[in-house]
Symmetry: C2
Subunit: 453 residues, 2 copies
């Protein structure tokens, strides 16, 4: 019923409407679009039959949380459906084959910023609940929705809200569709996520830009200093050299490591076709999935300062700023990791400059036990819909809400992912595989039915 | 006469007109301003009484050279006055106290982009010749002018032109006002310049930007690779680690080294007041003036790639470009230095990325003998006007034309500088000390008279 052609067509058309809203949370100029996207989600939940409201931060400034509930299944579990309506900036724009906010279906894929991360997957949850209510007039379990608009910028608003343990979030488990299937057609549940510490490294030399001819040989160069710090913090082989950084890491068990070796995987295809790279890098003595899922990283995202335009300018910049993040794994603590980073930056700072690492946001890593009943039911639902045994993987990305739900609500998060590895998250030409979108709606509906039995 | 108040006032007003033209040679959008500045110089020379014309590259595309001549002093030497009407970009704009192209006189200084480098100093030459012609109806020597508009971007046009050894450049010596006085009131002649190799370091990893969560631990990071290369090419102490790079360097002689120690100099004031820095950096075992004037440098000017805007974007960039330059000293060769840099970049390139160093422009270092008669006359003229013994220094900057005049015309260049060390060349709040401007005009006129005796 849910999968009837007219429902599919409506799901796709409504998804396109959602994707057309450029709800980029990191850019102030897109604030009105954030509001539009929140109201879109609110409208969808309301017309599905849920009681809804926008939760706006009492201190103002935050992006609204969209809340919805249907609590008519007395005695049944309560499930909290989480997603986010905000997206990453689309730049570099000139690398998109179709405009990022004009959804374009090419073959089995829909291309648009947010198609996979996370509007498309959030909409899977909404359409599953809407479909069940339309078909049966009721749901097999109690359902709450919490859809946020700051996931890509640190989610401060939802963090404050969840930390108050509000009664409307009382539930038994969360469902999150913001991860990916390990391979096309292979049902996948993600049981671990990396955390993150994201910040800015501010380096200052002289108090004004200097001519590199007149002062070169005596003047401190903040960009060279950033290079010194980056190479001190991570060696040529990708080993992080921050004292104490690895102390709390829980290595994966033998069983999990062996399961990872059985995953269908072609390293050459992954490297060349998916990443478009020449070769893989990173700690040479650690297997790939462990590097991606169970080891911390340190990456520089960009450097601002000096002259980087066309032509030549012979300037020694007064200051430079590097965007840096470290991914964290269980049981690293974001606060402790930030302090370790700060100390390592201070220790690596060359003479003539000051260097300061400033936090933008942090999130704890998470790891759930696959034997949990909510995880097992999700695996059964996905196996049924996709016709293959569900695999358990981890993800290298960070979904801070999982750690918040664990810490403040004491609930496990079930991460049913319907993205694919080549979805180009945070990059040009982001896409969602439409068969996964439609099957995802069926699988989530089936999952809720299983939980209600 | 030249120094009469009405001449001073006119010199200042005309200089302001010159400085109002944003003739930034590195930015294509300022092409019309380049033309305006060339025509300004042409008009000034013509109204002074010289025969003038614009020399436009036959291959097109280059910025016009302004040529002028007065050849009525039979039997007297011929002097070639060189300057440039193009300027550096003014960014960062928000650090200027007055707009860069609205000349502002504050106290004894005039603030504007190009005030010292080199419109103000070029205009000293023009006003000296105009003043002599106005006063005496003739000049004591034969004079040619060659004023270019590509000095800040590599001067390809003038290089091709000078290399043809055109008859209109036949002369005995060149005068260049594009350097600085060692200290306020201390007449100074510059006898050595560093050369330069300026280029871009292009580093490519994957063929598209990647999510740092999903791929961090396996993906190559081009900015981290640039950091690896920068730190491999220059160590923490500022020692360049490029094989063969130092082989041709001619160290200064004992006499010159000793003269440098007698220069009036307060290192603390230089560091804190002039540079605005905490401490000096660079090769620890080499004295400051030798580091600045007689040692090569390697500086990074900026890095483009990834995300460096406000907020957070967790991207591993596909590619990054660093602007790099090396200053060279006698007898380093720009072509050889470029090849050494290319090889060192290739050797330092970490795995997973490609790195290529591409030349933007190069210039040879130069060194002239202070016993030359044209240098001695200049020293006498400056000593007379400023009332103090003229000192000989070198400059850390690069004036490629000096090497070209030497190689193609076989003439020495006399570098009479009227800038000051705190003129903020290539930086916000560039200025020219007006007493130097007015005295410079008198000193150049006196120099021409001495040469004609």
């Amino acid at each position: 019923m849910i999968d009837a052609p007219e429902n599919r067509a409506e799901s796709l058309e409504r998804l396109k409407t959602f994707l057309r809203i450029p709800s980029i949370s990191t850019l102030p100029e897109n604030k009105p679009d954030i509001r539009l996207a929140a109201e879109f989600v609110l409208g969808e939940l309301k017309s599905a039959g849920l009681s809804t409201r926008l939760i706006v931060d009492s201190e103002g400034g935050g992006n609204p949380l969209v809340y919805g509930e249907w609590l008519g299944a007395a005695g049944k579990p309560t499930v909290l459906c989480y997603g986010h309506y905000d997206v990453q900036p689309p730049d570099p724009l000139d690398e998109w084959k179709s405009p990022p906010f004009e959804p374009d279906v090419r073959g089995d894929d829909i291309f648009a910023r947010g198609s996979s991360d996370d509007k498309g997957q959030t909409y899977i949850l909404i359409r599953a609940v809407a479909g069940l209510l339309k078909t049966h007039g009721r749901l097999p379990v109690n359902v709450r929705f919490l859809v946020e608009g700051e996931e890509e910028t640190g989610g401060e608003h939802i963090e404050r809200y969840v930390a108050t343990r509000p009664p409307e979030l009382a539930c038994d488990a969360a469902i999150i569709c913001d991860t990916e299937m390990f391979a096309p057609g292979l049902p996948t549940i993600c049981v671990g996520l990396r955390g993150i510490v994201y910040g800015e490294l501010h380096v200052e030399g002289a108090n004004h830009d200097l001519h590199s001819g007149v002062y070169g040989g005596a003047a401190p160069n903040p960009i060279q200093a950033i290079a010194e710090i980056l190479t001190a913090l991570k060696d040529r082989d990708g080993r992080i050299r921050i004292p104490g950084f690895h102390a709390r890491i829980v290595p994966p068990g033998d069983e999990e490591r062996q399961a990872w070796t059985r995953l269908p995987f072609n390293e050459d295809e992954y490297t060349r076709a998916e990443m478009g790279a020449r070769e893989l890098t990173g700690e040479p003595d650690i297997p790939l999935f462990e590097r991606l899922w169970a080891r911390p990283t340190l990456e520089v995202h960009g450097i601002r300062g000096g002259f980087a335009g066309e032509g030549a300018k012979t300037v020694i910049p007064a200051r430079a700023v590097a965007k840096l993040s470290a991914r964290l794994v269980a049981d690293q603590d974001p606060g402790e990791a930030f302090e370790q980073l700060q100390r390592a930056v201070a220790a690596a700072c060359p003479r003539g400059v000051t260097a300061e690492f400033r936090l933008i946001h942090g999130a704890a890593p998470s790891l759930v036990d696959p034997r949990n009943r909510f995880i097992r039911a999700a695996a059964e639902a996905m196996t049924g819909v996709f016709g293959r045994e569900t695999v358990y993987i981890r993800s290298g990305g960070s979904i801070p809400i999982v750690g918040l739900f664990d810490r403040h609500l004491g609930i496990p998060s079930v991460m049913m992912g319907f993205g694919l590895p080549d979805d180009n998250l945070h990059a040009p030409n982001e896409k969602l595989h439409l068969p996964n979108f439609f099957r995802g709606i069926v699988a989530v509906a089936r999952y809720l039915e299983l939980l209600g039995e």
